[in-house]
Subunit: 322 residues, 2 copies
């Protein structure tokens, strides 16, 4: 990776979206930028953290994003074009730079099955920082890694501070696991300069991020920011340069379904049944199976037209436990 | 493909699910069965059909299923294990046996964007029956084929006739595009013998089947029926022996998103924006883009935990138009 035109240090992060936050840099369309991204806990968790740290989490420091960046010439109606170039894990504590670190937690009150998993749980992942070698899951399994940034967005037109938790039409905490190196993302601009920020880097995640967390892992992200004038874009869109699931799909999938009139309840049913299936097959505790589903299993809508019942399917890649 | 233990002729089809329909055959667990499946129009459409045929469709003859089959020893609480072995297209009209035929239609009042596409539309596909060579789409594009049966199910415990349209906990019109050769499907048994039927064969479909139809194509299906006693299964589940999207993914995807509090509306927004994008990129009429999305594009739930906004993404495989 060649040196980027700009480096934005991790100290330049903010909590939530607010168009009044002053930009930390201005860039020209086509410039490359390297962002140091703090992990989603804002540094409250590290490779030595234990379960007690989940209970002590300060939610005011959750999900910092690095930025914002003013893109010269960006005006409402344009789109910012983001090309992801490279993800580099940063080290944690005493582990040294050769290793990457990540955490996955069940945080009480958060996640698709929060009612079924009221107790906190934590798994620490250590992986090879050079090549993102598949990470061992303590309770069993080996998860292929494919890093991306969970939160990528621009400032909203509406004034005031907006929570970082929900994604919106300008992007934000989208948690789209295919925003990996080589992918191009388009975001609609609502304020002058766009005011781009990024964070919440993940070493791996499944579609849905069902337990609410991925493999949360601090990384530097190198990307190029460009501008499409008068793009007429309503919500984010993206282009992947190649396959998106080949790191997972080689041995096929175990799949559970939810059948009914509501897609959200269908997703809950499909995931709950996969948790039961994995627990029965491996002896893993249910909450461990749930967290494993979050980092590598995928929610898909199999059909959405056979009234009044839709089918949501949850795909768990068999190679993880093979 | 070796000869199956049983052959069920296409004349043995029924409309809707009803536990009182007498079985057309009884099989032992482990038996192989070949089913002749009529297409979803019940033979009302063929390779020479024109748009006028959509207006004249008799909906009482829609979606016939071949069966039912009594599986010896099957009792409520068991699961029927279905292993799909082979799909063989049947010929239509004067086309000869070397060619397979399929149809995709926009049927007024049916489909995810029915409000936006009120007029009927029809595309006839002709493909190589021997190897399912990618099918040309008249308005532009080439769609890789991967045949499966859209409707696979058992009889419901509740007496009376139940519409074939919605899938239910015993399966039915699931339209799960990964129920292809080699895949194993498990269905919960609710009546003695299970009463298995199958139909609605598709040469290709995307996750969601967004316009309401796939490449609807008459085929013979060879499969094995087996029995798992006391399976404790709530809804269908399945196991794929290998990758599920490699026929589509080589050149990556164009992806649009829907962001909001409702997954159904998110899916509608994502598909509508893909229709706009494909129309703009290719000059294809919107309804043609919509039908093309239905046969090869995929609805995925990117995140379902960042309250209150979820993201549904629609993945269109770039190799189709490349």
């Amino acid at each position: 990776m060649a040196t980027c035109d700009h480096t934005i240090h991790g100290a330049h992060h903010h909590f939530g979206w607010d168009r009044s936050i002053p930009p930390v840099a201005a860039v020209a369309p086509g410039d490359s930028v390297e962002f140091e991204c703090v992990d989603a806990s804002g540094g409250q968790l590290d490779a030595e953290s234990t379960l007690a740290a989940i209970a002590e989490l300060d939610f005011d420091r959750i999900n910092p994003v690095t930025g914002p960046i003013f893109i010269d010439g960006a005006e409402p109606g344009d789109a910012v074009k983001v090309t992801f170039e490279n993800f580099t894990p940063t080290s944690s504590g005493t582990m040294g730079t050769a290793k990457g670190f990540g955490w996955t937690a069940n945080i009480p009150g958060f996640g698709l099955l929060a009612d079924q998993f009221p107790d906190p749980a934590l798994n620490i992942w250590i992986y090879d920082a050079a090549d993102f070698t598949p990470a061992l899951y303590g309770p069993g399994g080996r998860v292929p890694l494919k890093p991306f940034a969970g939160t990528v967005g621009l400032a909203l037109a509406e004034e005031g501070l907006h929570s970082v938790v929900p994604p919106r039409r300008v992007g934000g905490n989208m948690d789209i696991r295919d925003l990996t190196a080589g992918t191009t993302l388009y975001l609609p601009v609502e304020v002058a300069g766009g005011l781009f920020s990024i964070g919440d880097t993940h070493a791996a995640q499944g579609d849905g991020e069902v337990c609410g967390t991925a493999i949360e892992s601090p990384m530097n992200v190198a990307l190029t920011l460009d501008l499409i004038k008068d793009a007429g874009l309503k919500t984010p869109r993206y282009t992947t340069p190649g396959p998106v699931t080949r790191h997972l799909d080689e041995k096929g999938y175990e799949v559970t379904t939810g059948v009914g009139t509501d897609l959200f309840e269908g997703a809950r049913a499909a995931v709950a049944q996969m948790v039961d299936l994995l627990s029965a097959q491996t002896g893993m505790a249910a909450v461990e199976a749930y967290m494993l589903c979050s980092v590598c299993g995928d929610l898909r809508i199999s059909e959405i037209v056979d009234q009044p019942n839709w089918i949501v399917s949850f795909y768990f890649p068999r190679l993880v436990l093979d």
